[in-house]
Amino acid sequence: MATRVVMEALSPTMEEGRLIEWKKGEGEAVAVGDVLAEVETDKAVMELTARAGGTLLKQVVPAGTTVPVSQLVALIGEPGEQVAMEPNGKERVADATTPAPATPAPPAPEPPAPVSGRMKASPLARRLAAERGIDLGSLHGSGPEGRVVLRDLERPGAVAGRPVAAARPVVRTAGGPAYTDTPLTPIRKTIAKRLAQSLGPVPTFYLTTEVDMERAWEARGALTGAGNGPKVSFNDIIIKCVALALRQHPACNAWWQDDHIRYWHEIHLSMAVAVEDGLITPVIRDADLKSLREIAAESQDLAGRARDRRLKPEEYTGGTFSVSNLGMLDIDEFTAIINPPEAGILAVGRIVQTAVAHDGQLALRRRMRLTMSCDHRVIDGATGARFLQTLKAMLENPLAMVY
């Protein structure tokens, strides 16, 4: 009696699979565990294996067909056993005297059981999983006592659970990797697809906050004339604070890369500079590691040479986040356009004395509006808002820069 081979759920979320290639031909002998076909799931290319031995009697669907989970794809039986397909797609085995009772579909491989206690993994597997954003708990450990080892990560089924890189601040180490590539999770994929349909190729949303700049004003005043270094502008202070805030919010310091997100460990700030007939964005590299004095000197130099059109290509590419400032042109607030593949840009308005409630009294305070444009495929509303919150707190307490 023939055994039915059905499309199996090869991943916990799989609803259908595309049968890419048959690995066994009709009439070929099959042993339990043999690979019958390769199947592309929503996540990876997986193998469909035989759960009964015998002869592959019939390939019910041709290669290239997309098949829902638990639909019949093949029959395995005795050599020479005759099967015919009914028009309704049901098989009929010629030598069966009674209709073959439907064999229950083989159980789908169980998703890994929730891990109780400590997850066992080799140090290498643990490190690579963290780097690739793979949830160790989603893997089947093939080592002793279920230890997850390197080969378990290299299986095609090993997919990202959650972007670990984005979840915690990255500790930068000298000589460490410059960034972490994180595969897209299904939810990230869906967000990217849906939002791009709605709002063009870069689905952008905007977050605005108003910052009290009194203390930054004082700080800049105190720095002016201190020593013989370059003059520090508000923009320099903002760049430094943005870099430090990004260090705390690496989820905003990222590139959209179509099939994954690149979370940068390095912070390179693109700085929009108006030039004749357009604008260009020279990059202050490793802005988080530079002193205010270094940033001031570098931004003056870059902006000057940008206006003279004497920047080298490597000086205006490779940024991980942008800052655009129109405050000096009396703009209160504006929205800036994201510079792909970066995922965020900060639009800086002018500093203006405004009557606001301060310590329970009406007071004149210097205020500035910041608007951040976020690529929703990378940054969610709350993520961007938390970054702005940190940035605002830093600007309102500039001493935080040296803390």
Binding site: P123, A125, R127, S142, G143, L150
Partner: protein, 324 residues
């Protein structure tokens, strides 16, 4: 030139004695008998009894003479008939040779080489089949060198003789007859540098002296099963080439450490310590050590074979770290 390990050592001694009149050889039977293992063949004839000195059977005594000679500016090469006999001399090695530079505030060094065969041969039983490298490597102030091939034997002995610190130079009794290509003339192998004897990407087998040959045989068997093992010969036990160890293991992610000696506090224990500390995040499996059995060496032929490191045990350890 294709030479035996024995003749490569002989060549190194001859070249260094020709090069530097301060170099002299002393030990039991090194002169008239030309060495218990014929390493000093022809040297008495060429350099005379002032520079090739036969000593009484007094290891502590002539080791002390060696230390004293080195302290006043000569470069003695002291041969022990085997390192098993050198147990009697260990006070001079540990308390004098190793300490002199430190205790004289750097004023007096001991540029001496103490050399001879170590480890087991065949059925020499418990008292004459011992690998003592971890004893000496334990002592700050001593360098410990163990060549595995004729070329390394020559190059390392020449470097050891020129070194300004006391060097414990442990040869392999079973290696004296092995043959290999040896560069002629000035061939120096720096102390403290390990050597990749076979490159591979799947696992690193760290070894020294006699276990290098065993590891190469294991690697050959593993290659048939499509496992590419890297064989790293430490060559110098102290100072240990940590960089070579770390670099190789970081690339292969798995490691087996083989040595002839006993397991407790052996050389491999130190190697494993470095690995777990420096490349913890590169490891895909615990490092496994393959050592001699933790017993006095049996005299019985079959038991002796069972107590020694062999290729099958290294292959089994490699399979374990590869989860095969």
């Amino acid at each position: 030139m294709n030479l035996t390990y024995r003749d490569a050592l002989n060549q190194a001694l001859r070249e260094e004695m020709q090069r530097d009149p301060d170099v002299f050889l002393m030990g039991e039977e090194v002169g008239v008998y030309q060495g218990a293992y014929k390493v000093s063949r022809g040297l008495l004839e060429e350099f005379g009894p002032m520079r090739v000195v036969d000593t009484p059977i007094t290891e502590l005594g002539f080791a002390g003479v060696g230390v004293g000679a080195a302290m006043v500016g000569l470069r003695p090469v002291v041969e022990f008939m085997t390192w098993n006999f050198a147990l009697l001399a260990i006070d001079q090695l540990v308390n004098s040779a190793a300490k002199m530079r430190y205790m004289s505030n750097g004023q007096v060094g001991v540029p001496a080489v103490f050399r001879g065969p170590g480890g087991s041969a065949l059925q020499l039983a418990a008292q004459h089949s011992q690998a003592f490298e971890s004893f000496y490597a334990h002592i700050p102030g001593l360098k410990v060198v163990m060549p595995a091939t004729p070329a390394d034997a020559k190059g390392l002995l020449k470097s050891a003789i020129r070194d300004d610190d006391p060097v414990i130079f442990i040869e392999g009794e079973m290696l004296y007859n092995t043959k290999g290509e040896v560069p002629e003339g000035e061939h120096l192998v720096p102390l403290g540098k390990a050597d990749v004897k076979r490159a591979g990407r799947d696992v690193t087998i760290i070894c020294h002296s006699k276990t290098v040959g065993v590891a190469l045989k294991a690697a050959e068997e593993l290659a048939a099963a499509e496992v590419e093992a890297e064989v790293l010969d430490l060559r110098t036990i102290r100072p240990l080439d940590e960089e070579a160890v770390v670099t190789s293991v970081a690339r292969t992610h798995r490691c087996v450490v083989a040595e002839e000696g006993w397991p407790f506090a052996g050389v491999g224990a130190q190697v494993v310590d470095i690995i777990q500390r420096e490349v913890f995040d590169e490891l895909d499996a615990p490092v496994i050590r393959v050592t001699g059995a933790d017993v006095p060496m049996p005299y019985n032929k079959h038991l002796e074979r069972a107590a020694k490191v062999d290729a099958a045990r290294i292959v089994a350890a490699v399979n374990e770290v590869l989860y095969r």
